[in-house]
């Protein structure tokens, strides 16, 4: 209260300032006049009286300031005056100001962006009622429990007020025939919404009563996003019927926009009761299996129950269950509880690690920026030695000067902070707008909130101290007399200092980053011309999942055969084929152990695996994969015909060396009784899992002999990708209007995904490379500027004694050039030594590519020279006459 009152008084006096000043003037005037009068009374002449009175009264402005201090308005006034002065000083050196603000803005912007990521994923709670009470179940190294175990835990535990379960799955939604799409969402326990305390935007949520009997309650809640994008925000959505995997469901509600499920990294678009599991995952009856540990669970802790107590209770129940079902439950499993949202605990450690690395890089960048800025300020401080000395001589206190200099730093930091926040918000928007072409709907939205702004404000203040304090302290230590006489600071021989090494380190770091990013960019360009084992041009594909529509293997074989026959008849499609899973789709390839049947089954230590694909006749031509020997699979390779396979060259070479593999037999298991399959053809080796991989053995089996419900239809075409894709879609939907297609489009466009890691690496390394280069350049600039300004006097004398500009230049530049050369050499050597680490994401470019190295070295050398240009030019422009006269 007292503080509040005082504060009010200060504010009032700020407004009453004019009156107070007037009063003060009148009061002091009165005093002066009284003094004069008493002087005259004492017998002095009026002139003498005035003079002596003035001497007695002294400096009026000084009293005024002290009176202002007494009223508490001095502080605010001083601050405003300091700010005005600082702004004037900064305006006078626009280049310095712009450089400083840019550096700080980049540093603060990067840190704010990284913090937003950390805050969004690691610190934020789920958007539900009282999220602190929620705890996710983890056990051993997994976060999954089986449904029957969950039911037992839910009904018997004494620690949770509620225990919910959910499972994330894709489903096909069909609004009307031929209008189908693929969605990911939750099968959720009946108490899910009640426990979370989420309120529907429209309609209602389902409750426990709708989750009691398998298959009895086909109701669905959809996400706000799905409602907007798929149903055009239809206000009459509630009680509409849609088909999920061909099965009619009633829409009962729409979730609020803030709620996209109980995981932080994937967004759910629908919720159905868990009892509808068989409709969502046909043929996968896990609801009765204790062995199928495939649902995620989280509970709301009862008040006063700790996570450890709850875990002990779960362990106890688990042991009871293990006694009843010894073959299906591991008795030794230990539970622990964690914050929910990252698949229990599973992703927390890797994401935390990622966050720590990112924060570390960003913080190191900001620290370097601060250090360089401190260097620039030091140079500036020695330029301003005279100004500081004059002000000290005029009676400014050192504290006032410190305050003044720190205000300047604060103004710089605030400018950097503001621009940095703008940069961070821009980066977050860019990141949020970016859609990864991936089946699972990962959440990429970054959403900075007030906590982020507090963080940035704190960061800005600490950078002020970090870069401003040392130079300011140095500046106010100025000795008045020598500075006014313009004597040189000290002629102590300057040894290599820590700052020199730091700048050298920055140069080395930017060399490393520039070389790495250049290598990755070159290899990306190379990747687009690489032999992938198929021809991505003039080909399109579309995928669908027959198992979701409850196709048996037999039915899907017939469906696939019919589909290929029909599609082959379409004009414009030159060849059509089916593969279970396109190479490079990054969707988990099937690997199997392969061995020759004419050799004994190898020991487990010598097992070799191959990727297995299932293809239809015509796939090779459609994909543009070249057949090197033998024949393609054909319509006679049916179920009862002898089993056959095609292999790639890598497999042929690995297992058959110089023998002819055609006619040879391989088994796809470790079972000695396995008769194996006959090799009928050899195709070229391609890329299967990622673009940078080494040649990998692959087996292609005919779809008619194996069957698959995952299907990708591939067509080679002379039509445009869009036309051809539409034709494929039409053909599939003509056969079954309920099917949902995904991953549609040209093969070229679909390569974006496998190229993504390299592209992301190129972007990140590129940004870091540019930042490091800016840092190194400013560091060099600061060092040079400081050196030149300290030696102005000495250079003046040298020039007066007849030194030529070239000599001056070499004496100024020598150290910096040595530093540059050493930094560049170190960076290059480190990159050469660490090049092997890069080879995982490089293809077709040697990690020691000389052209790249030379380019990077030249680039850095020219950046270094550019940074030195201004201070060096200043050094030779020094006018000896003026410098010496200034003494």
């Amino acid at each position: 209260m007292r503080w509040l009152a005082r504060f009010r008084k200060i504010i009032q006096s700020l407004f009453r300032r004019r009156q107070i000043e007037g009063d003060l003037d009148a009061e002091l005037q009165y005093h002066l006049e009284q003094e004069i009068e008493s002087g005259i009374e004492a017998g002095l002449s009026p002139e003498e009286a005035t003079l002596s009175a003035r001497r007695l009264v002294g400096s009026v402005p000084l009293y005024k300031e002290e009176c202002r201090d007494a009223w508490g308005i001095g502080f605010v006034e001083n601050l405003l005056r300091d700010l005005r002065h600082a702004a004037r000083m900064l305006r006078r050196t626009p280049l310095f100001t712009a450089t400083a603000i840019t550096m700080l803005a980049l540093g603060i912007g990067a840190n704010t962006t990284v913090f937003t990521f950390v805050e969004n994923i690691l610190l934020r709670s789920l958007p539900v009622h009282d999220p602190q009470q929620l705890a996710a179940l983890n056990w051993s190294d997994m976060s999954n429990v089986s449904y029957p175990n969950y039911v037992d835990f839910r009904d018997r535990n004494t620690v949770f007020s509620n225990l919910i379960a959910y499972r994330f799955n894709p489903a096909n939604m069909s609004i009307q025939p031929r209008e189908n799409f693929r969605l990911w969402g939750y099968e959720a326990s009946g108490n899910y919404f009640d426990t979370l305390g989420v309120q529907p935007l429209l309609g209602r949520f389902f409750g426990p009563a709708e989750d009691d009997q398998p298959g009895a309650n086909p109701v669905i809640v959809i996400s706000h996003r799905c409602w907007i994008s798929r149903f055009a925000a239809d206000p009459g959505i509630v009680s509409r019927t849609v088909k999920i995997n061909g099965y009619p469901f009633t829409v009962i509600g729409v979730a609020p926009p803030s709620f996209s499920g109980t995981e932080l990294i994937v967004a759910a678009d629908y919720w159905v009761p868990m009892s509808m599991e068989l409709q969502i995952e046909p043929g996968n009856d896990w609801i009765h299996s204790r062995g199928a540990q495939n649902i995620w669970a989280m509970g709301r802790l009862k008040p006063g129950v700790s996570a450890a107590q709850a875990a002990a209770n779960l362990d106890q129940m688990n042991q009871q269950l293990a006694r009843a079902y010894p073959n299906q439950i591991d008795r030794r499993a230990k539970f622990h509880l964690s914050r929910p949202g990252l698949i229990g605990q599973t992703l927390r450690a890797p994401i935390t690690g990622f966050g720590v690395v990112l924060s570390g890089v960003a913080a190191a960048g900001l620290l370097l920026a601060c250090m360089n800025l401190a260097g620039m300020l030091l140079a500036r401080a020695s330029d301003r030695r005279r100004e500081v000395a004059i002000r000290l001589a005029l009676g400014a206190s050192r504290f006032q000067l410190l305050r003044q200099l720190m205000t300047e730093s604060l103004l710089l930091a605030a400018g950097g902070g503001l621009v940095g926040v703008a940069i961070a918000f821009g980066a977050c928007r860019l990141f949020s707008a970016w859609r990864l072409d991936f089946d699972i709907p990962f959440i990429t939205a970054l959403d900075p909130d007030s906590l982020v702004l507090y963080f940035t404000a704190a960061l800005t203040l600490s950078t002020t101290v970090l870069f401003g304090l040392t130079p300011a302290l140095q500046a106010i230590r100025t000795d008045v007399i020598p500075s006014l006489k313009n004597e040189p600071v000290s002629n102590r021989f300057r040894r290599w200092s820590v700052r020199d090494f730091l700048v050298g380190g920055q140069i080395a770091l930017s060399v490393i980053l520039v070389i790495c990013s250049a290598l990755v960019v070159r290899s990306l360009r190379h990747a687009l011309t690489l032999n992938l084992g198929f021809n991505p041009d003039n080909a399109v594909s579309a995928s669908f999942d027959l198992s979701l529509e409850r196709y048996s293997e037999e039915r899907s074989r017939i469906f696939d055969a019919t589909l290929v026959r029909k599609a082959s008849l379409i004009p414009g499609l030159q060849s059509v084929g089916i593969i279970n899973n396109l190479p490079l789709r990054v969707s988990g390839e099937t690997n199997q152990i392969v061995s020759r049947t004419d050799r004994p089954v190898p020991k487990p230590s010598e097992w070799r695996a191959a990727v297995i694909y299932n293809v239809s006749p015509g796939y090779l031509r459609a994909a543009g994969t070249r057949l090197l020997a033998g024949r393609d699979v054909n319509d006679y390779d049916r179920q009862n015909a002898p089993p056959v396979a095609m292999v790639n060259e890598a497999l042929a070479r690995a297992f058959f060396k110089n023998e002819n593999p055609i006619g040879g037999h391989i088994r796809l298991s470790a079972d000695p009784a396995d008769k194996g399959v006959e090799i009928i053809g050899v195709v070229e080796t391609g890329k299967y899992e990622y673009i940078g991989e080494d040649p990998h053995p692959v087996v292609f089996l005919p779809i008619a002999q194996t069957g698959t419900t995952w299907t990708t239809l591939v067509a080679r075409t002379s039509l445009s990708a869009q036309q051809a894709t539409e034709l494929l879609q039409k053909t599939v939907l003509d056969l079954d209007p309920d099917l949902t297609l995904f991953n549609t489009g040209s093969l070229r466009a679909q390569l974006a995904l496998p190229l993504f890691p390299a592209r992301a690496a190129a972007i990140v390394l590129g940004i870091l490379g540019v930042l490091a280069m800016v840092l190194a350049a400013t560091g060099l600039f600061a060092l040079m500027a400081y050196a030149v300004s300290r030696r102005t006097h000495e250079i003046g004398i040298r020039m007066a004694l007849g030194a030529r500009p070239a000599q001056v230049l070499s004496s100024v530049l020598a150290r910096t050039l040595v530093l540059c050369a050493a930094g560049i050499a170190t960076g290059t050597l480190i990159t050469l030594a660490a090049a092997r680490l890069l080879s995982a994401i490089l293809y077709g470019v040697s990690p020691r590519d000389p052209a790249t190295y030379i380019t990077a070295v030249l680039l850095l050398a020219s950046v270094g020279l550019l940074a030195c240009w201004n201070p060096a030019a200043r050094a030779i422009r020094i006018d000896p006459a003026r410098t010496l006269r200034e003494e």
């Binding site: 009061e27 009165y30 006049e33 003094e35 002294g58 400096s59 009293y63 002290e66 009176c67 007494a70």
Partner: protein, 109 residues
Amino acid sequence: MGKPTDLVQGTLDLLILKTLSLEPMNGWAIAKRIVQVSESVLQVQQGSLYPALHRLEHQGWIRAEWKDSENNRRAKFYSLTTAGRKRLKAELENWRRLSNAIGLVIEAV
């Protein structure tokens, strides 16, 4: 910022409060009175007087109003508030205790 202080700050406050306890006075009169009463031993510099007056006013121990002085000129007259009287009492006691203590120490040696 070194400024000439003839009196310890707290002491000047005490002198002003004491002077004002007799009657409301303007700044010049206060300075004159202190000089007279102390038989010119204590010199009050204007540089200390006015900031002290403003400080005391700010703290609510004295209040100021513009009135006509004896020679019919407008001057700012300061007078003691109730809080100021209490403060004076406390300061006086404090001062007596202190000077007493100093006296004891000096006499003892």
